[in-house]
């Protein structure tokens, strides 16, 4: 057996022994995700166990170095792990902005102390992070942020407002863009800082979305004291960190396009619409839409994998994350439009127990933000045109 085959066999055996039955199969709704943190909530005790077991092995962040609590796996091993997880239809052990966004940025820009302090907690799901980027006047034009950090010697005093801060009310810490030099050109006066959400002066206020859900907040900073040790990267060069982190965020949001859980969509549709005498989905137009979507989904999954391999082999610009973000988020919207069409009136129920309190409709509405959050589709297309296609004036 090759090393990789041995690894697969061992992984399979470990998962068989350690992945509880309750966390296998599709999630009922987005609400069931495990986010960890200081005050975690779990759908079942098995979900807690699953997070802890995977966290202890470092497999919530399989490719991070083992010295920071990660799995220390090679890319090929990580692929094997993912395929084995898919094989048993295991749910994600831990959803985490720390893993998807902050961690990779810390690995690249953080000091040794910062890595040692923050990364292992992230891997084990002990601290939950939120992202303080957008402001009322700075969305697509993110470098226009106004939140000020004034130098007070060994610390800064931060004042300002963020908006759209996902899960700010549940997060323990925030990674935040602040303006440290108001006189510099807008990209050059920004710093990237970390602070505890329980610091005096931090308050949040929920924003309800069209999906009726409210994990989003306005976040206010009123004379918030931030230690200088919590600066990531160079002072006034936080834009570099912000951009690198955005690339990871975009890949993560794009990856939602690749999630095809459980039962093939055509069969889901056949369950509700029935089949014709050839045992094909009754609605031929819908059948064609689903089949085309499945082709795109399969191609997108391979594109995700290929981009990962290209990045590893240094064959591609980091701006390629914009392609994944753009395509994946539009694909995910298409998928949910089709799920709603296939489900018909059953998916229109908003409050019944039977419909999981409208989970299909709420998930559908939530996906509309995929092409807005983390930079809109238009912004991704601008980046592709400028950085990957070198089009003029872009």
């Amino acid at each position: 057996m090759t090393d990789l085959e041995t690894f697969r066999a061992e992984t399979r055996a470990w998962l068989e022994a350690n992945c509880p039955a309750e966390v296998r199969g599709p999630m009922d709704s987005e609400e069931d995700r495990v986010w960890g943190g200081r005050n975690p909530t779990f759908k079942t005790p098995a979900h807690k166990l699953w997070m802890e077991r995977m966290g202890a092995k470092g497999w919530t962040a399989p490719e991070w170095p083992a010295e920071y609590g990660g799995g220390g796996l090679s890319r090929e091993e990580a692929k094997v792990l993912h395929s084995e997880l898919r094989r048993i239809d295991a749910q994600l052990a831990l959803s985490s902005f720390g893993i998807w966004m902050l961690g990779p940025a810390l690995l690249q820009f953080g000091t040794e102390e910062q890595k040692k302090r923050f990364l292992p907690e992230i891997v084990r799901g002990e601290i939950r992070w939120c992202q303080g980027y957008s402001e009322p006047g700075a969305g697509s034009d993110l470098a226009g942020i106004q939140t000020r950090a004034v130098d007070e010697g060994d610390h800064w005093i931060v004042n300002g407002q963020k908006v759209w801060t996902s899960y700010a009310d549940k997060a323990d810490w925030i990674f935040c863009l602040v303006r440290t030099d108001p006189d510099a050109p807008k990209h050059l006066g920004i710093s990237f800082v970390l602070f505890d959400m329980t610091t005096p002066g931090v308050t949040t206020k929920p924003i309800t979305l069209i999906s009726g859900k409210s994990p989003f907040c306005e976040t206010f900073f009123d004379d918030v004291r931030v230690e200088k040790a919590n600066l990531v990267g160079t002072l006034n060069r936080g834009w570099d960190v912000a951009k690198a982190l955005l690339a990871h965020e975009r890949t993560m949001i794009g990856a939602m396009g690749s999630i095809a859980s459980g039962r093939p969509m055509g069969l889901v549709a056949a369950d509700s619409l029935g089949v014709d005498s050839d045992a094909r989905l009754e609605d031929p137009m819908l059948r064609a839409r689903i089949a085309e979507l499945e082709v795109d989904l399969a191609a997108f999954n391979l594109a995700m994998e290929r981009v990962g391999d290209q990045v590893k082999a240094r064959q591609v610009s980091p701006a390629i994350a914009s392609m994944l973000k753009y395509y994946g988020s539009e694909l995910n919207k298409r998928r949910h439009e089709i799920l709603m069409t296939a489900g018909g009136s059953d998916t229109l129920e908003w409050e019944s127990e039977r419909s999981g309190h409208g989970s299909a409709a709420r998930d559908w509405l939530r996906t509309k933000a995929n092409s807005i959050e983390g930079g809109t589709s238009e912004i991704q297309l601008n980046i592709i045109a400028k950085h990957l296609l070198q089009l003029p004036g872009a």
């Binding site: 069969l267 549709a269 089949a291 499945e294 082999a313 390629i320």
Partner: protein, 374 residues
């Protein structure tokens, strides 16, 4: 297996691109077309292809080939797509080579594989019958007769059929199963009509009327043609996807160049966001198509695409994407895109043909749907 080309495969790609852009660029296609060349393909070029080791890329070394795999065949196909070079590669080097290498008798292999690999022989697969690729609807028949078989039927879209040194004909040997026959085109009862296609590439209609062949003309065992054919078609479909990627991407590259240089309203047209966004969308589609195609080719090499679904995904995706690429190419070039003198129209025509080859995007999406049970 990482989804990128290995160093050796990258070298092969560079060699193929270099060879073709030097010896058979788009001007080569134009010359063949405008001179109404009797063959529509250059036999010298096919020989040179053999000498470079390109023609027999999938043929085992013991038969004079390069003994490489599907990914390498895809690399060649993509290069041919980029330069629009008419070549017996698909018919001979991919389809017939695969059929013979997998199912040919020792004599058949000994006779034909080295010649294909050397670029000395041109073979053609006679499979499709109606205007759409639908192997399951085949009506050509082979009935036992004398010490062999009598073939009857009509085939179309036979790549290089008009200049083939040998035909491989698919025919039903009973109501469900099919068999494959190696037929000398000079046999009595074989009629071949060249059909020059819209893209100035070559295909033929082949009519078989009581064509008598010996039993040893059979490729593979009787009634066992289906698996051989599926295997060859899988490879052919993935290679056609690669060829579509080559043609689509080249049309895109030409378009990008135009966006960077053409001025209107005192600006480069590439500065208009409406065009930038369409170009960026197309780029994303091309990336997916490439990933799907390389994925399929690698799976074929790894022997894990038995049902051919990865190849179907690749062919379906590549077909739609290349179509978008050529449509955008003509549109973004404005009036000049409609002129024969400009190349993008040639790409549009070629993509149309490649789309029909071995099943269009809908055919393959439908295959995927059926395989999943809906």
């Amino acid at each position: 297996m990482p989804l990128i080309l290995t160093e050796e495969q990258t070298m092969l790609k560079e060699a193929a691109d270099g060879f073709l852009s030097e010896n058979a660029p788009v001007a080569h296609l134009r010359a063949l077309r405008d001179s109404h060349d009797a063959d529509g393909v250059s036999r010298d070029l096919w020989k040179a292809f053999g000498e470079m080791g390109f023609a027999g890329v999938i043929i085992p070394e013991e038969h004079g080939g390069s003994g490489l795999g599907a990914v390498e065949a895809g690399v060649m196909a993509e290069a041919l797509g980029r330069t629009l070079t008419p070549s017996p590669f698909m018919g001979s080097g991919v389809l017939c080579a695969s059929l013979l290498a997998e199912g040919g008798s020792t004599e058949q292999q000994g006779e034909w594989l080295p010649k294909i690999a050397a670029g000395e022989a041109i073979l053609a697969l006679a499979l499709d019958e109606g205007p759409k690729h639908r192997p399951s609807a085949m009506t050509a028949r082979a009935e036992r007769s004398g010490n062999g078989f009598k073939l009857n039927g009509a085939k179309g879209f036979v790549l290089d059929g008009h200049i083939a040194d040998a035909l491989i004909v698919a025919a039903k040997t009973d109501d469900v199963t099919l068999s494959l026959f190696l037929v000398d085109p000079k046999t009595a009862g074989v009629e071949i009509e060249r059909t020059v296609m819209v893209d100035a590439h070559n295909a033929a209609r082949v009519t078989l009327t009581d064509v008598q062949v010996d039993a040893d003309a059979m490729v593979g065992a009787i009634d066992q043609g289906e698996p051989l054919l599926q295997k060859a078609l899988n490879l052919g479909r993935a290679c056609a996807a690669a060829q579509l990627n080559g043609a689509g991407d080249q049309a895109f590259q030409i378009t990008l160049e135009y966006l960077r240089t053409r001025k209107q309203f005192g600006k480069l047209i590439g500065e208009f966001q409406a065009l930038q966004h369409r170009a960026a969308h197309l780029f994303s589609e091309i990336e997916l198509s490439r990933a799907a195609t390389l994925g399929a080719l690698q799976r074929i090499d790894a022997g894990v695409d038995e049902k051919g679904l990865s190849a179907s995904i690749a062919k379906s995706k590549a077909g739609r994407v290349a179509e978008l690429a050529v449509q955008e190419a003509v549109q973004m070039h404005g009036g000049v895109g409609m002129t024969d003198e400009f190349d993008v129209g040639l790409y549009m025509k070629r993509v149309r043909v490649l789309n029909e080859l071995f099943g269009d995007a809908g055919f393959h999406a439908d295959r995927l749907a059926r395989a999943q049970g809906y």
